[in-house]
Symmetry: C2
Subunit: 305 residues, 2 copies
């Protein structure tokens, strides 16, 4: 296995000013796995769903080449469900509900075939689950973790354990400020890196992302898309593109990390263009490559006189 | 004359969480001229001040090579004064006061030596004054204009006349949304360009800037600075760097516009690092060139496998 992804698989309810969707496939592991599989030869999913999880969704993952040996179906509980509503400004999100259901008792088991994976993607969920997955991995080459404000505020000790065991943290600007207590992102990066991860990526949504590696900073704008339908899963799609690219690199160099930033950004740009997971479900590697070319033209530096 | 800049020259009162300053030199023309003069061989200033404007400030401009033949001193009135307070988040600004004083009766006169200028920089002030300056120019090669929410809301007809007579509008994202009625910036750019300017630059503060030229988009992040002391004048410094670079280009090509974006961004990064105008007053071309190198390293694309 080249890449193992743990995270949530959910039923999402999404309301935007233009459209809405009920019980569509969602969750951090869903968006991450469905983007990573476009780049990484093998993607193994570790997640839990309930007895109500439809076969159609199982087959969707399988058809896309995602290995479900690590998907647990809990016969006693319902699938995790989340609902969100976006305003005219897609950065304004209201959470309508969060029904944890199967997540309350999730104790992940990493299948033997997954344990030798080079890249470990810890999608946003309880840091306890992230730690349990790390415990079962043999000797991953590179470990990448996402988290969110809820875990920063409510499980700081567990999250601290995670930080000390990962290579790279990928969070958004608001979370970086909350986690570090610093307003300035350069200061925030110093504080966060001193707590564990050698590498930090700060996502800024429509404003791009910043990579802090061991010695340098890489500033990358977001791809400008004319159609932002639904920001749900954009950060997870970024993570999937980022880790998927790392999985096809022969070594995790400074150049590899910058390339991973490009693929994360392009995957996120597709995720927001359609409602729910459609932007990543129906995505082809050809479309990714074409957008990468357009992206390169849009950020190309002129010659300096 | 290669570049003529019209705008405000002000006394600023600035309060930040860390520091404060009384009656420092400020205004859109001040920041624009003091950055443009680092790049453009000749910079002519068109502005008005009151009888209270100190000789020291006049000499400062002259020492920096800014031609003051277009600076009117109104013996009957006080200099324009503005006060602002910033929160911990430097994007949160409260205007403490705005005393228009000399601006209420300003009718600009462009000195004969300025009329043949190649580049015209219309800094943020009353669009009536911007139009009066345009009326007096012989045949500028490229005209660049800034404005703000106040003029968009209160003088739409005058601003519309300006839009039809300029080559390039430089505004921030909030203003672009207000002016166009579009939330999405790609949509906003289409609407704004349909109203006149061939070229549009949307500034996004710490998140960078976007250039929409006649056929392409150029996405540029901001330079990441560890020290943001005072955002006052950052947008004007961007405009000064942008126009200053255009003034030293032999023709206004797509490459020239992208280079202008780089210099605008670097100038703005210096403006925010010190309180009031100090970041641009004490700036040298050497420092600009060095930062441009660091900026280039920080945005350099990796090879794509």
């Amino acid at each position: 296995m080249s890449l193992v992804a743990v995270g949530t698989v959910a039923f999402d309810v999404i309301e935007t000013p233009y459209d809405s969707a009920q019980d569509v496939l969602g969750g951090s592991a869903t968006y991450a796995a469905l983007t990573a599989r476009l780049l990484s030869r093998q993607v193994g999913l570790i997640a839990v769903v309930g007895h109500d999880f439809p076969d159609d969704y199982v087959r969707l993952f399988e058809r896309k080449g995602v290995d479900l040996a690590g998907l647990k179906i809990d016969p006693a509980r319902l699938t995790f469900a989340w609902g969100g509503r976006y305003g005219e400004d897609p950065n304004q999100r209201t959470t309508l509900f969060t029904d944890l259901n199967v997540l309350t008792t999730f104790n992940p088991v990493v299948p033997p075939a997954f344990r030798e994976s080079r890249i470990v993607l810890l999608g946003n969920l309880d840091p306890y689950v992230q730690l349990r997955v790390l415990d079962q991995m043999a000797h991953p080459e590179f470990t990448v973790c996402d988290t969110m404000n809820y875990w920063i505020a409510n499980t700081p000790a567990l999250l601290n354990d995670v930080l000390q065991r990962i290579d790279c943290l990928v969070i958004n600007d608001e979370e970086a400020r909350q986690l570090s207590g610093c307003q300035n992102l350069a200061d925030a990066a110093e504080v966060i890196k001193s707590r564990g991860p050698r590498i930090l990526v700060i996502k800024k949504g429509e404003h791009g992302a910043i990579l802090f590696d061991e010695t340098q900073v890489f500033l990358l704008p977001a791809f400008l898309t004319a159609s932002v339908q639904d920001p749900t899963g954009a950060g997870d799609a970024f993570l999937g593109g980022f880790c998927g690219q790392l999985a096809r690199e022969s070594a995790i160099t400074a150049g590899a990390l910058r390339r991973a930033m490009l693929y994360g950004t392009v995957m996120a740009s597709f995720a927001v263009e359609r409602l729910g997971p459609d932007g990543v479900v129906h995505l082809s590697l050809d479309a990714v490559v074409q957008r990468m070319r357009a992206f390169k033209r849009a950020v190309a530096w002129p010659d300096l006189c």
